[in-house]
């Protein structure tokens, strides 16, 4: 059926389930290390709640900084999952089968990480529930004119849809695991498999539901980051108030999401010896996609600059001149380099098929995408309308620890996932290999 794989059903089950075996020393070491970083971040948050948000480096003009930067970054990371699992599914792109499970995990864990930041950045996190549209005695609802209220809805919707998609897509695989484990594990997997038997009737309903969910999730890929971008675009801050923001942010999100998937797949396939399933072809396909998103992002940057000049708006112009020459110019030029110029190396087949190069370039993209949000947020606030009120933001220990802790939290979740659930979709890989026949193997 396909030229990609020379596998059979039995090997697939064995190969793809060996990732669930008891972990080695290295795994535990890494897990403890991540837990320590998470603890440091949590402690920093504790300090911030006790002392006040002043322990983070924000100030009067710069009310948002690293927290919102990192929030947008993780929402962006969360994009590749649904893109790969839903959109590529609808387009019947075959190479997605091997990578989509991890990509979906990236989505959910990305959201789980991003979701922390709106809380972390609040001045009074203990009353955060006021932002939820919960019926209450006072009859006081959130302000639906505020993009922050839209954010809440967009992100919870996206989280719900992608969690559904994730668990639904895993049902047949979990059923296999259930059948091959004993004891309490069997019960847990049994619960997750939701009584999957693999009957024709079940498959019929299952595939229908899968297509339906894929179709439902597709617009979410576009909407979520568009809405997140409106946190900025709907404001009147020069450098934020721009119609280009929605597509610009979606492209950036996919850019960083793809790079993150590559970064996770490469060590994972090595650790679990999945080279047969996640092949060079898959990585190369992702790399080609990254060239595309890099070009889109680069185009967005140039349009942004052009419009700020062409508009003749002195405030817009001033912001872009400030970005290029001001206090954060190093970050601006670094992000242009890492996001757009470095990925251009992938045009070379030699480079995009070289694992070290690919890893390096993907790391560069992640740095660049984080810096991109940082530059947009901080420079615009630092130098807006009234020159007298201009200021500068400097990170502190507390907000740095929280940001680092958020990275640890994401990787921690991913590592737990990799040891508890099948990281490659068995049933979809099987769809692509020849079914077992009496004559065959």
């Amino acid at each position: 059926m396909t030229e990609d794989y020379s596998l059979n059903y039995t090997d697939t089950d064995i190969d793809l389930m060996q990732s669930l075996k008891a972990p080695g020393k290295g795994y535990w070491f890494l897990l403890v290390f991540l837990l320590l970083l998470i603890a440091a971040g949590a402690a920093a948050w504790g300090v911030q709640i006790a002392e006040g948000i002043g322990v983070a480096g924000k100030n009067n003009p710069v009310g948002w900084a690293m927290y919102i930067t990192t929030f947008v970054f993780w929402v962006g990371i969360a994009h590749s999952g649904t893109l790969i699992s839903a959109i590529l599914f609808l387009f019947r792109v075959k190479w997605r089968a091997a990578v989509y499970r991890s990509a979906e995990a990236v989505t959910i864990f990305g959201l789980a990480t991003a979701g922390l930041f709106p809380f972390i950045h609040l001045g009074r996190v203990w009353v955060a529930h006021w932002i939820l549209p919960v019926p209450n005695f006072g009859g006081l609802w959130p302000n639906f004119r505020s993009p922050l209220a839209w954010d809440v809805l967009a992100i919870t919707t996206y989280l719900t849809a992608s969690t559904l998609f994730f668990t639904l897509g895993m049902m047949p695989d979990v059923a296999i695991v259930r059948d091959k484990t004993r004891g309490w594990r069997k019960k847990v997997y049994g619960l997750l498999a939701m009584g999957w038997q693999g009957s024709d009737n079940q498959w019929r309903h299952y595939t229908a539901a899968y297509v339906f969910l894929a179709a439902l999730s597709t617009p979410l890929v576009i909407s979520v980051h568009s809405i997140v971008s409106w946190d900025f675009a709907m404001s009147i801050v020069p450098g934020w108030h721009s119609t280009i923001f929605a597509p610009y942010f979606v492209a950036g999100a996919i850019h960083s999401g793809l790079a993150m998937v590559v970064l996770l797949l490469i060590p994972m396939r090595k650790a679990f010896k999945l080279e047969k399933y996640i092949t060079g072809h898959h990585l190369e396909s992702l790399a080609k996609f990254i060239i595309f998103t890099a070009l889109v992002v680069g185009f967005a940057y140039s349009i942004e600059l052009f419009v700020s000049w062409y508009s003749g708006n002195p405030f817009e112009r001033a912001i872009f001149i400030y970005r290029m020459t001001g206090d954060y110019a190093w970050a601006f030029w670094l992000l242009i380099t890492t996001n757009v110029l470095v990925p251009m190396l992938l045009w070379s087949r030699k480079i995009r098929t070289s694992i070290p190069w690919l890893v390096g370039i993907c790391i560069s993209v992640e740095i660049g995408m984080w810096l991109e949000r940082f530059v947009i947020i901080v420079t615009s606030l630092a130098h807006d309308y009234l020159p007298y009120a201009w200021g500068i933001y400097k990170p502190t220990l507390v907000d740095s620890l929280i940001v680092i802790g958020s990275f640890a939290w994401f990787f921690f979740l991913f590592m737990v996932f990799s040891k508890t659930l099948p990281v490659v979709s068995m049933w979809e890989v099987k769809e692509q290999i020849n079914p077992p026949t009496k004559s065959g193997r």
């Binding site: 009353v127 505020s146 922050l148 009147i236 309308y385 009234l386 020159p387 007298y388």
Partner: protein, 981 residues
């Protein structure tokens, strides 16, 4: 002046005090309402106003103290007082932080053998005080007792005089660091009157100031600012002309139409140049031919070219200035302040006196009369005292509220001299560098807790009454003097038991002198309510030119280089916030940005960019400054506010023993000066020192609130040429309302609005401190200001003009603009920011969750976030306004247009069943503004002053960032520019 509600309340308040306070004890308050008077006289929730007199500087402005539940919570200018007419400066506003200062001396203390302070009882303290003095009296050394006080007038001056006489001594020094020695001597040289003159700015249509910082600290800044705004304010096409001559662009200078940046010490030369031009052009007024001839001969060598060479100002500019001044119908030239009070100070001021004389201003805008300022001791008297102390000729030194150790040069070594005095008593409210060296401290009430009267200018009798019970275990200075005086002198000298009795007796005399029409009790109550009594006729002399005046007077201006070598001319100027240093322990004043440098919690060295570049100095670099007398390190502040070749340092910082807020903040530059009094003036030579400045290889933090010195052509401060204003033309035609996507806001009752006249705003920042006091705004300290977290709801944005070839600065007060289409309101996810039906951008602190989105989206950047829990040090927290919520950490706050005052005003109107009157509701900033730049009112009411102003000023009104279409409720009126020379 019509009687307003607030004035009425004051009368009620005063009546209460008058009838009840005599019974006051000095026990510590134990109940919530710390008053001993019957409880029925206090209505919880109701303010009472007590009129008194401000004692933060020698000007003697009238104040009204707002008291709630027995605690003073706000100080405002007394609108009935002739000196300040309702306005008050930042220092006056901060008087409360003197009253509630946590570092006040809280009980009597005696220094032990080990040099450590020990708390003692009042009985012991008084016994020691009297015993020691009696011992001296018995030893026949009563005459060697010296009483050192600050500027005093009225009852206290009389009492101090009686007291020192009772001790048997004649030595009472009224010591002030800024005693105007040159100014007084110059009057005596020119006119034969040793006095500080009175200046009437309001009556002048042209003002020329020679260094005098009359809008900041000089003599009576609030009075002058009030007068200045009358002279200057644009009405009916007219606006006064104002020129400034001096080497530093002070806040006062930046208000001028033209700044003539003369070389330091050549101000007098400039004035004589002007005199010569005026006489040559025969423009003099009211001068006899003989006088004109005499003066001509004195100024013959000061031709415009010669003057130009000395001052560094083009000859044509001098001519222009002279002609403008001479052609005015009533001019006023003032000279003074630290930049003039040098060795040549008398000559400089005499030159300016000539200028006034030949233009006929003497007797019109410059008048003379008895003033308590004229009785101040000069610096040479203090230096002589130090000599006597060193010679062990002083048996005892009794000081009240003076700090010579701090405000005289180190070279004088007053501290060492004090060690030679066997017995030193400090009767002061605060510990200070000087009190620290005393043997005994008898802590006194602050002026807000004391009885007294003040008569700075003859005929203006200010009456001081305590606004509340004493905060600490202190006593009234007057009471202490009376009690100890009775034991030290003959009993007949002190017929009164308390200061209250003494003051009342003085006012009985006044009542008798005035004819005593009504009975005394009603006169007394009336005066307490009014804050004093102002006599209409004043004995003012109209002096003529003294015969002693001759060319020799101007010898010091001849231009011989002084020997005091060094590269840079040193300019010291009193800080607008700290004056001579006495304001440094008030945290509000520490956090008040200097109007020109915009720095807080520090002192700095201003150096011109040209000189800075040559030495590789940047703002924030540490430099070492050295004179022959002292050397220290200080932060550099590169600025065009000084001329090339000059450096400037503000006075007031550098305390070591003046409480937690003042200690170890900045440097005391007075130490750089020559301790020897000038023989010519008798004063300290504030000007004329040359210093070396060397860059050090490290940097320091200079906390500033200004993000940019210029406005990058963004039209935040707009200006219009004067001649354009007088041209006819329909100004309203080109103004059309921009479209908005939002529905029009509807205001059923009121739409509160404000106008701010940029042309009137002097930059004095009184509004900033008033806002801190009214709205419970916390202090954050130097580090947090440096992090960009100052909490001011109103700020003065100072921008240097980027187009002007000569440095000039303008000021724009910036506060919440209460926009109709407010960007902050739409983005708040929880409706903490919402639009009230009276047009305010409301902020519900309890609802705020702290997303800070509103602050990001505010183009005016006037929202302030509580980054930490605010710290309210006991008993400074007693000052908190009970009508305003104290905000918690994590919430956003902002200007409310003083919504608590709006509510109070509306409630009063409703109770009286009438509509709110225009002018009845005044926010704290507008209330205190000495320049009357802020007008508040109802925009829905076409006849309100604010609506009328907007309509009248069709050519000047604009809204900041109007292109954003936020539709602010604050309308600014453009600055008016007039090009001169």
């Amino acid at each position: 002046m019509e009687l307003q509600r607030r004035d009425f309340l004051k009368i009620i308040g005063a009546t209460t005090v008058a009838t009840t306070l005599p019974g006051c004890g000095i026990k510590q308050p134990k109940s919530l309402i710390p008053y001993v008077i019957p409880e029925e006289s206090i209505t919880p929730g109701k303010s009472v106003w007590y009129a008194s007199v401000c004692q933060e500087c020698p000007a003697g402005c009238g104040i009204s103290v707002r008291v709630r539940e027995g605690r003073a919570v706000k100080v405002e200018g007394n609108p009935l007082h002739p000196t300040n007419d309702g306005a008050l400066c930042a220092r006056g506003q901060a008087a409360l932080q003197g009253l509630y200062n946590p570092d006040r001396v809280q009980h009597p203390m005696r220094k032990g053998e080990d040099g450590k302070w020990r708390a003692i009882s009042w009985d012991e303290a008084l016994k020691t005080f009297v015993d020691e003095l009696q011992k001296i009296q018995k030893a026949g050394k009563g005459g060697d007792v010296v009483l050192l006080s600050g500027h005093v007038s009225g009852a206290l001056e009389e009492l101090l005089g009686t007291w020192i006489a009772a001790v048997g001594s004649k030595n009472h020094l009224r010591y002030e660091p800024f005693a105007h020695e040159s100014l007084r001597k110059a009057q005596s040289v020119t006119f034969g009157v040793d006095a500080v003159p009175f200046y009437d700015f309001a009556a002048a249509d042209t003002v020329i100031a020679f260094d005098a910082d009359f809008l900041e600290t000089w003599i009576s800044p609030v009075e002058y600012a009030k007068g200045f705004t009358r002279h200057r304010g644009y009405t009916n096409g007219k606006r006064g002309t104002y020129l400034f001559v001096g080497p530093r662009l002070s806040m006062t200078a930046s208000n001028a139409d033209s700044w003539f940046s003369v070389n330091p010490g050549t101000e007098g030369v400039f004035a004589l140049g002007m005199v010569r031009v005026i006489l040559e052009e025969k423009k003099e007024k009211g001068v006899s031919a003989a006088d004109a001839l005499r003066i001509s001969s004195m100024v013959s060598s000061f031709s415009p070219d010669a003057v130009s060479k000395r001052t560094g100002v083009p000859a044509e500019a001098i001519r222009q200035a002279a002609l403008i001044f001479a052609s005015s119908s009533s001019g006023l030239a003032v000279a003074g302040g630290t930049m003039v009070e040098g060795d040549s100070g008398v000559a400089t001021i005499a030159a300016v006196n000539l200028l006034n004389y030949i233009c006929g201003n003497i007797g019109k805008t410059v008048t003379f009369g008895p003033s308590s300022l004229s009785r101040l001791a000069s610096y040479d008297e203090l230096a002589l005292l130090a000599d006597q102390m060193n010679g062990e000729k002083v048996a005892a030194l009794v000081m009240t509220d003076v700090n010579p150790v701090f405000d005289t040069p180190d070279g004088l070594d007053f501290a060492r001299a004090m060690q030679r005095v066997p017995f030193i008593v400090s009767l002061s409210s605060f510990m200070s560098e000087t009190s620290e060296l005393a043997n005994l401290i008898l802590p006194t009430h602050t002026p807000l807790e004391s009885w007294g009267d003040v008569e700075v200018r003859e005929g203006v009798h200010g009456l001081m009454q305590p606004a509340m019970q004493p905060v600490f275990d202190t006593r009234m200075l007057g009471d202490l003097l009376l009690e100890s005086g009775q034991k030290l002198g003959r009993t007949g000298n002190f017929p009164h038991r308390t200061m209250y009795d003494f003051v009342r007796a003085r006012w009985m005399d006044l009542h008798k002198r005035l004819g005593g029409k009504s009975d005394f009790e009603s006169f007394w109550v009336e005066c307490l309510a009014r804050g004093g009594y102002w006599e209409k006729s004043r004995s003012e002399s109209h002096p003529s030119l003294s015969q002693n005046l001759n060319s020799a007077t101007f010898e010091p201006l001849a231009g011989k280089e002084t020997a005091k070598g060094g590269t840079f001319d040193l300019i010291l100027y009193p800080s607008i916030a700290h004056y001579d240093g006495r304001g440094a322990n008030r945290p509000w004043l520490q956090e008040l940005p200097d109007p020109m440098a915009m720095n807080v919690w520090d002192s700095w060295l201003e150096i011109h960019p040209q000189d800075a570049a040559a030495a590789g100095i940047n703002t924030g670099d540490v430099v070492q400054i050295s004179s022959p007398y002292a050397r220290f390190e200080i932060a550099a502040h590169v600025s065009t506010t000084v001329k090339p070749g000059a450096v400037a340092i503000p006075i007031g910082q550098g305390h070591t023993a003046y409480g937690r807020y003042a200690n170890n903040v900045g440097r005391n530059p007075i130490d750089l000066l020559d301790p020897k009094p000038s023989e010519r003036t008798g004063g300290l030579e504030w000007a004329g020192m040359k210093v070396e400045v060397v860059k050090r290889p490290y940097q320091t933090i200079l906390a500033t609130v200004s993000g940019s010195d210029v406005q990058h052509n963004r039209g935040i401060i707009q200006s219009v040429p004067l001649d354009e204003l007088s041209k006819p033309g329909n100004s309203e035609a080109d103004k059309e309302q921009a479209l908005s996507m939002y529905p029009e806001q509807e205001y059923p009752h009121h739409r509160w609005g404000m106008t701010i006249d940029i042309d009137k705003c002097t930059g004095c920042s009184a509004c900033v401190t008033a806002c801190y006091a009214e709205n419970n705004i916390p202090i954050v300290g130097k580090e947090e200001v440096n992090n960009g977290r100052e909490m001011a709801w109103i700020r003065i944005e100072r921008y240097f003009d980027e187009q002007s070839p000569v440095p000039r600065a303008d000021f724009a007060p910036m506060l919440c603009q209460q926009c109709d289409d407010a960007p902050c309101e739409t983005v708040c996810p929880v409706y903490a920011a919402y639009h009230t039906e009276e047009g305010l951008n409301g902020q519900v602190y309890n609802r705020c969750i702290g997303t800070r989105y509103c602050a990001n989206n505010c183009p005016y950047k006037v929202r302030r976030f509580n980054w930490y829990e605010a710290e309210w040090v006991e008993p400074l927290n007693w000052q908190l306004n009970p009508d305003v919520t104290v905000r918690t950490k994590g919430v956003m706050e902002k200007c409310t247009f003083c919504v608590q005052r709006i509510v109070e005003g509306k409630n009063t109107a409703r109770n009286e069943q009438r509509p709110v009157r225009d002018g009845e509701i005044v926010p704290a900033c507008a209330q205190t503004c000495p320049a009357e730049a802020i007008t508040f009112g109802d925009l829905k009411d076409r006849k309100s002053r604010v609506s009328e102003l907007i309509a009248e000023e069709g050519k000047r009104d604009y809204r900041i960032l109007e292109e954003l279409n936020t539709r602010p409720a604050v309308t600014y009126l453009k600055a008016i520019k007039r090009e001169i020379a």
